[in-house]
């Protein structure tokens, strides 16, 4: 596994509670402690880069890649503005961002770098980078999640990230910002009353964490559509983060998995999970969906029948 450009991968929740008010709920505090543990492990790693894929950064024009060398702002969440403001100043790896963008193009994806003063970095990315890299010891890069993209684009997007790491000879900790179940309560709740929204969400969260704990990332990737149907509020077309994560990390089940914490975040399933590449594997199953190397775009299926 020494050739892997990935030191390890993290799956972390986007909500601001562990950053702003961890003391208000035991579970939020546990998530904060898990973030702190992950931060220490990043500091102890030989990572050159923290690469973030955030489900709370939607894009329309392909995928967007943050290339501003020092984005700075004070962010406030649309829903949880009452929890406080999140001032930030991050250090980004612009060279990686530009290389990533070029490799997306090589693999058929439409993407672009962005570097605008005042660009609204999303809540999930702000929370992750403030907790995991508070002193900007390691430069970061953030990539968006296109609202229309599906499996092939997400997997190719991950492969382009891996291409870039290898080309530039960099080692990265990759961070996926996403909940497990994402249904929040639609009314205000007292912090002490927070819990997973439903028994079904809880059951599926436990199943997903069992897979993560066994290092079965590729199996989760193959289960992504089922997860989307079962426990994801249908805000976008698919549950994409494990597709990107699996593709970036190398499409296998060869990881040591560790669930550092799991707790409800206003009803949704928040977990801090670490996957570290290893030589062992729980075994590869027979996968239903093909692998994809290059995105071919919309295939004009309807038009073809008219010729």
């Amino acid at each position: 596994m020494s050739e892997s450009p990935i030191c390890f991968g993290l799956y972390v929740p986007p909500q601001p509670h562990p950053l702003l008010v961890p003391e208000q709920n035991e579970g939020w505090g546990q998530l904060r402690s898990a973030f702190d543990t992950a931060r220490k492990r990043i500091e102890e790693s030989d990572a050159d880069l923290i690469l973030v894929y955030s489900t709370t950064w939607p894009s329309v024009i392909g995928h967007q890649i943050q290339a501003h060398p020092e984005p700075e702002w004070t962010h406030v969440d649309d829903d949880f503005h009452f929890l406080g403001s999140m001032p930030y100043k991050f250090k980004m790896d612009s060279d990686f961002a530009h290389g990533y963008n070029e490799n997306c193009g090589q693999r058929g994806l439409h993407s672009r770098t962005i570097a605008y003063d005042g660009f609204p970095i999303d809540t999930g990315s702000v929370v992750a980078l403030k907790l995991l890299n508070p002193d900007n010891r390691i430069p970061a890069c953030i990539v968006s999640s296109n609202v229309y993209s599906n499996r092939s684009e997400s997997i190719v997007l991950g492969k382009a990230a891996r291409d870039t790491l290898k080309q530039q000879g960099k080692k990265a900790v990759i961070v996926v910002v996403a909940t497990l179940s994402n249904r929040m309560f639609t009314e205000h709740i007292e912090p002490k009353d927070d819990r997973i929204h439903s028994a079904k969400d809880e059951e599926w969260n436990q199943k997903i964490m069992e897979f993560f704990g066994q290092g079965r990332l590729e199996d989760l990737s193959q289960l992504s559509r089922e997860i989307h149907g079962q426990i994801r509020v249908q805000k976008v077309v698919a549950y994409k983060p494990v597709w990107w994560m699996a593709a970036t990390m190398g499409q296998s089940n060869s990881y040591n998995g560790e669930v550092l914490a799991y707790a409800a975040l206003h009803g949704s399933g928040g977990a801090v999970i670490q996957l570290t590449p290893t030589s062992g594997s729980i075994g590869d199953k027979e996968f239903d969906e093909d692998d994809v190397e290059v995105y071919s775009g919309d295939r004009d299926v309807l038009d073809k029948g008219m010729n």
Binding site: V60, I61, V76, I114, G118, F119, M184, E187
Partner: protein, 314 residues
Amino acid sequence: MLTMMNRLPLPHCDSMGEIVAGCIAPHPPHVVYADNPQQNEPNSEGGWETLRWGYAKLANKLKTLDYDALVIFTPHWQTYIGTHFLGLPHFKSKSVDPVFPNLFQFNYDLEVDVELSRAMHDAAKDAGMVTMMMENQDFRIDYGTIVSAHMLNKDWDKPLVPISSNRSRHYYSVEVMNEQARALGRACRKAILESDKRVVLVSTHSLSHRHFTTEPPIPEDMSKQHIYNHSNYVWDMKLIDLMRQGKMQEVIDLMPEFTEQTMAETDSGSISWMMEALGMPDYPAEIYGYQSVIGTGNVVAAWDPNPETREVVL
């Protein structure tokens, strides 16, 4: 179901509040980018004139109306925990569009009618809705609010009352969204009529809302602009035709199917809210223009409750 109160004409009384107009005002940042106002940093060679000229004509009409505030229901302040209202009087900052940052970096300085905002919040809360006042001074105003406010009033001399879009469509269904938005419309109408304010309602959204996922090298290259597909075009025209005929109840009844078929931005509840607040108009809309922006369908339209000033524009 509508109550009789909702079907009554809006009052014209000095001692009561009044809704003097309702507008559909789409917010693709392209129209501000194309206009090159001093507040926006990127520069363009124009573009989307059909929409911008329509906006200009509607803005001229609003100049002739006596009103105190623009009440804007925006799909780009997305909340999942009820509906939120701004609770601070002044916001000054910079809005950068997260999707089209190359087009929209707008320096804004705006006033909020907090009294009216709180009255709407309280009325919605009293009606059983989940509500919250937003009182964090670092909060950044969304670009949907800013684009529509700018295009309707470039002098920025009227306070705003932005209202968040509760995403009940995602959590439940388009039907639930429709009903919740209409309930919010009833509450806002009550708050306005019980106030001493005259307001213009703004429902800011596209109709069909499927985007192209690539952008031309020159974003304002009008040779590249067209609707995403013919189905969306036909649906958009269907709705505009009903608006012309004053059949807004039918529009609202069609809303679930239209929204699902065209990925319409009406999923925010914006038009359902406005029609209910207006008392479900049965008179023709004023149509100011229709044009595609990066695949989406956009209409500028208005409802003038006063038959003496109502116009046939297009």
